[in-house]
């Protein structure tokens, strides 16, 4: 667990709007401590979209909720790591300090548009809320801004919808409202936690297109969490692949698709069906994701890896820059300057 990742030093800090350094998150239940996020490091540059990819339960949602500090403590606990925003560690902020950042500097939209809006409050009032909190607008100003936001997310009859309740809207419309809420205060970072997973495909495409447009309009960076590699290719500038609580590979999106390094990433990309492919069984990665807390040391992917080596059972692989801006957590590779790959320095 003493893995150290040092790639961030090379990046000029002013270009990054957010940096996560060696973040670990543990949940404590009655008798044991389970580590669900381990040594996660990533950065988001101004104006870019970073994709965070992984299967269900790999820790991508809890990582994003950690940035917002929406994990209650207890049961959550951060034994190590920093989340740096504007030169300050968000993990050291009090609840009230965080409240000033949430919705204002960093916003979030969620996977469940059907249940993420308060059923007894009008759409308008739910959008205005963050404007009252962070911008101290008057009622009149807030209303103008809220209707404006509804138009921005391409909701027809914005004046009418302003007065409507969530149950009168479809899932796609509700997700648009969620986007309007999240972007009302023009945040620097938008965290989108599987925003299209619950929607059908045509609506998905609309929402993704909308997010792409609004990103440029509002000039925000996006952390886009998904398990859909097709969506990543369309939306993201860079990608981080997560497996069992760790980031195993991080690279530019073209680089990652063309030149995947980690055996897990390679397996994932192989399992995407291609148009024109002859029929047959789709390749898949054998085995199952280990339950959190199963492994205490060694590579977490070793039991499913085709290229497993003896060292994978003994030592934790470090997260290293193996090529320019291409990071990987695997003993198959050495660092860019040819140094020996080892987590113990």
């Amino acid at each position: 667990m003493e893995t150290k990742t040092k790639f961030m030093k090379d990046i000029a800090p002013q270009k990054n709007v957010l940096e996560i350094k060696n973040l670990s998150l543990e949940f404590k239940n009655e008798d044991r401590i389970v580590r669900v996020v381990n040594d996660v490091s990533l950065y988001i540059r101004k104006g870019e979209t970073l994709g965070l990819v992984g299967e269900s339960g790999c820790g991508k949602s809890v990582t994003s909720m950690s940035i917002m500090r929406l994990i209650d403590s207890p049961p959550g606990n951060y034994p190590a790591g920093e989340i740096i925003y504007r030169g300050e560690d968000l993990l050291k902020k009090t609840e009230n300090q965080m409240a000033k950042i949430r919705g204002n500097d960093i916003s979030m939209i969620f996977q469940e548009p059907m249940t993420s809006l308060n059923p007894v409050i009008t759409i308008g009032a739910q959008i205005e809320e963050s404007l009252f909190i962070h911008r101290k607008l008057t009622k009149q100003e807030a209303k103008i801004k809220a209707v404006d936001m509804l138009e921005k997310v391409r909701i027809p009859r914005a004046e009418e919808i302003y007065k409507a309740y969530p149950h009168e809207l479809s899932g796609g419309m509700r997700q648009r409202v969620m986007i309007a809420i999240a972007l009302a205060c023009s945040p620097n970072i938008l965290i989108a936690d599987e925003p299209t997973t619950a929607l059908d495909v045509t609506i998905q495409a609309q929402i993704l297109e909308l997010m792409g447009k609004l990103k440029d309009e509002i000039d925000t960076s996006i952390l886009f969490i998904t398990h859909d590699l097709g969506v990543v290719a369309e939306m993201c500038d860079r990608v981080a692949v997560m497996y069992s609580g760790e980031i195993v590979e991080q690279a530019d999106v073209y680089e990652l698709y063309k030149n995947p390094k980690h055996p897990y990433t390679r397996g994932l990309l192989k399992s995407i069906p291609k148009i024109g492919q002859t029929r047959g069984i789709l390749p898949s990665i054998p085995g199952q994701v280990p339950l959190p807390g199963t492994f205490t040391h060694g590579c977490k992917f070793r039991d499913r890896c085709e290229e497993v080596m003896e060292i994978c059972h003994r030592e934790d692989p470090g997260f290293l820059e193996i090529e320019q801006e291409h990071y990987c957590r695997c003993f198959l590779y050495t660092t860019i300057d040819g140094k020996e790959v080892s987590s113990h320095e």
Partner: protein
């Protein structure tokens, strides 16, 4: 909304009609002879038959029912077999006593239940939460008449702080209102707690926090209104049971209300009294239900009645 209320009021008519038939049959088909109750067991057979004829007990049941309902619609519930007092007047006189007792009990129970429930949910698993929730189990489990007798023994007889029974003023009201409301308060508290805890786990609570809303506003602006929707229904139902509970408590504390009137009526086979009160209690229950549904519509925009 007005049409909805009108429709609901119209729907109450068949229900009340069925209740009136059941109440009528219930008292007329149970053993016991009203003539003997009214005139004593010593009267001879001839007089007995004459009286039966005069009071209309020899008519077929449907005829008796129709005659009775005709009178009821004019506001006449007949006279008590035992005291020959006008039932409508007696109910009018006693209604205010029960109304005061039930209202005061309900108000303190609801307020206390809500406050305790909210605090318990917000400070979940704290010492306060544990103590209060244990007390509430006790309060639900203890029969109210026993709690009444216990309090009477301690506060009235031993310590002499409060009058034992009867009516007279605020001091007379304290014990019966406390006992009558205690169960309701405990149920409301537990229900509010669990409902609020459940609501606090909803996705839209996370949304509210993600907007930068502070905890107090998350609880009071976002969670509470949603959490109260089921609490309202449950509290309304409790009000119905509270009317039932009043029957025992009024008897224990000699409170001259409708509850003790009903008990007297049942013991003495005083049919007009029992019949009138069964119908009245049903009407109250229906009224409370309507009130609950209207509150529901106010709280929950998904049920705006058309």
């Amino acid at each position: 909304m007005a049409t909805y209320i009108a429709r609901r009021l119209l729907q109450m008519i068949p229900i009340l009609l069925i209740v009136s038939i059941l109440a009528f049959l219930f008292v007329h088909l149970t053993p016991g002879d009203p003539i003997r109750i009214m005139y004593g067991v010593e009267i001879d057979q001839d007089t007995y038959q004459q009286l039966r004829e005069r009071e209309g007990f020899n008519d077929p049941l449907p005829v008796q029912y129709a005659r009775y309902m005709g009178n009821v619609l004019r506001g006449d519930f007949g006279v008590s077999y035992r005291t020959r007092a006008n039932v409508s007047q007696e109910i009018g006189r006693r209604f205010i006593n029960t109304f005061v007792l039930a209202s005061v009990s309900m108000i303190w129970a609801t307020l206390a239940g809500l406050v305790v429930g909210i605090i318990s949910a917000v400070k979940r698993n704290s010492l306060l939460d544990r103590v209060v929730m244990t007390l509430s189990v006790a309060s639900i489990s203890i029969p109210s008449f026993w709690l009444g007798l216990l309090l009477m023994q301690v506060l009235a007889v031993r310590l002499g702080w409060l009058p034992t029974s009867g009516i007279g003023g605020i001091r007379h009201l304290i014990m019966p209102a406390f006992v009558l409301g205690a169960t309701v308060a405990a149920i409301v508290a537990r229900f509010t707690r669990s409902s609020l805890l459940e609501t606090l786990g909803e996705d839209y609570i996370r949304t509210a926090r993600a907007k930068g809303q502070i905890r107090r506003n998350v609880i009071f602006k976002h969670a509470l209104r949603n959490a109260l929707i089921p609490v309202v229904t449950m509290t309304g139902l409790q009000f119905g049971f509270l009317i039932g509970g009043a029957i025992a408590i009024e008897t224990v504390f000699s409170w001259p209300g409708l509850g003790s009137y009903l008990i007297d009526g049942i013991i003495n086979r005083d049919y007009p009294v029992v019949q009138a009160l069964i119908m009245l209690f049903s009407l109250q229950f229906l009224g409370v239900n309507l009130l609950v549904d209207l509150t529901y519509a106010y709280l929950n925009p998904q049920i705006r009645y058309s």
